[in-house]
Amino acid sequence: MNLEEYKGVYVFAEQVDNKLSGIAFELLGKAKDLAGDLDTYVAAVVIGSEIKGLADELAAHGAEKVIVVDDPELKVYRTEPYAHALSEVINKYKPEIMLVGATAIGRDLGPRVSARVATGLTADCTQLEIGDFPINPVAGKEQKHNQLLMTRPAFGGNTIATIACPDNRPQMATVRPGVMQKIDKIEGAKAEVEEFNPGFTPDNKYVEIMDVVKAVSETVDIMDAKILVSGGRGVGSPENFRILEELAEALGGEVSCSRAVVDNGWKPKDLQVGQTGKTVRPQVYFAIGISGAIQHVAGMEEADVIIAINKDETAPIFDVADYGIVGDLNKIVPELTKQIKAAAISK
């Protein structure tokens, strides 16, 4: 494998129902940084049926080149024709880096493609940068420059590893959604668009799609919620939980509560977080008017980000909160909701 032949930072631009997924833009944003460091270009690979029209949107988000693989076989995602398409793109264009979203599609497609083109794949990355491998020089071992260093959490987020793929190309990574920053849209940007069709002949690996069933939202389990807005005795009344519900709605989260709230009959038991309730691990946990008894903390301390709002500055909840606000929840929460809604509209 002549590693020098491989150029460009490529992004698999995931689309569903011919609409680009947010991850495509996030990957382009990161690809632009990496391409800058490597002095190379950013390309997007979009695979589907009748998707040529998506090229401009990719250009507006930083793609200098867009490779379009357009074929009726690619209308709805299936592993084999997509893996064939992306592998053939890699074989033809020889990218130095190939980024894929760590989505339900990307985590299926990525490994299948990496095995087909015989390269390494690092899963669920949260940080990508260009650097040396080994990071520090090791006697008797060549230190390679301009390597993609891929950082990822493992062990349920308890350990962090940085991985390189020094001897194979492309350097492939799947990237966790919501981590990388997209760039501000460049209106009117145009990319060099190339159509490529490697040919699709169904074989044993083609599966048949019998049905596509879109989910209808059901009553939620607080253990599945990514964002929880949790209230305690300090909320004051069952009616006042409305301000928490509005905040949760603005953030796309759910409402949960402390034991005191359940004991007061304000909320049902299945919303209770804590030792005698549920153990939750959301990305964000708002503890509002919750003092933070150890029994409560045991049920939520594993949240990625904990934000506490409490008028008692000695409340133990502040010992575990990443961001603690000493203040009146009745004033802060509604205003926060308002501003979050405003921010969402302006986007």
Binding site: T276, I294, Q295, A298
Partner: protein, 383 residues
Amino acid sequence: MDFALDKKHEMARALFKEFAENEVKPLAQDVDETEEFPAETVAKMAKYGFLGIPVPKEYGGQGCDPLTYTMCVEELAKVCGTTAVIVSAHTSLCIDPIMTYGTEEQKQKYVPDLASGRKLGAFGLTEPGAGTDAQGQQTKAVLDGDEWVLNGSKCFITNGKVADVYIIIAVTGIIEKRGRKMKEISSFIVEKGTPGFSFGTKEKKMGIRGSSTYELIFEDCRIPKENILGAQGKGFGIAMHTLDGGRIGIAAQALGIAEGALERTVAYVKERKQFGRSIAQFQNTQFQLADMATKVEAARLLVYKAAMAKATQRSYSVEAAKAKLYAAEVAMEVTTKAVQLHGGYGYIREYEIERMMRDAKITEIYEGTSEVQRMVISGDLLK
């Protein structure tokens, strides 16, 4: 001598622990609160073979040994005393005497259903006027043609009403032994649904409140002649030997309750803060826990020793009596101390320790009180 468990017993313990944590523990408070028999849990235990652990495979059991069964009761008791005694009474007091004293026909007829949990078993010895004292028995069985006719009542019967198969001890006549007139005692297998067999009042108990404790009433209850278990007149020996096995089950239940209370207390004292530090940092707490742990360990060794004795010895009365006596007293002591270390939280229902203390008490009473165990042990010493 090796105190380590082998691989299969280690795996079995892990299984029982996982099952207890996932399936039994979440219901334990509710079972206690509502005093309802945990029928769904029993069905699940049946599905996984927990109701026939020491029974050979050819009789539909799991083909394991008394130690495995003991560990099952122990792990269940760590989270729910009620669930533990259901398994113990069923296995030790109903299946075991049929396996030990039953004819091949009786074993074929009853054991596969019991071991697979399709049917549940119970044992009736105690009467309003007679506990472990067999000569006080009033329930009579009279042979009438091809049938035994039972009259009388049994009380405090675990798994009463929910069980399908009952081992019943009854008087079948008067015999002369060394010049003294004595009651001749026999044992029988009685099925639920037999005409003349009914249930009296449900007892409301201090602990193990979900276990179904009923009075059994026999009024001209006619059972087939072949339902006598063992030879006529051997009933007292059968009952005593059955209780020897049962005591290992109750000892395991007591051990489990003590272990469960200790585990929760260790977790609690690390979290609970008083005067600015966790109560685990106080020497009183540390010393109390040390005593509790030592006694629990000693109880475990006695219980496992008794289980091993049941597997290898014909008689294991003394081992079983020592295990039950000690484990029951440790259960009471440890749960009482656990409540104390929990302070106010120990006294309220949400914290389980309160329930464990109530559940512990019965282990000093049923299947022979601690006083009876002392009689058995000293009787052996002084014989």
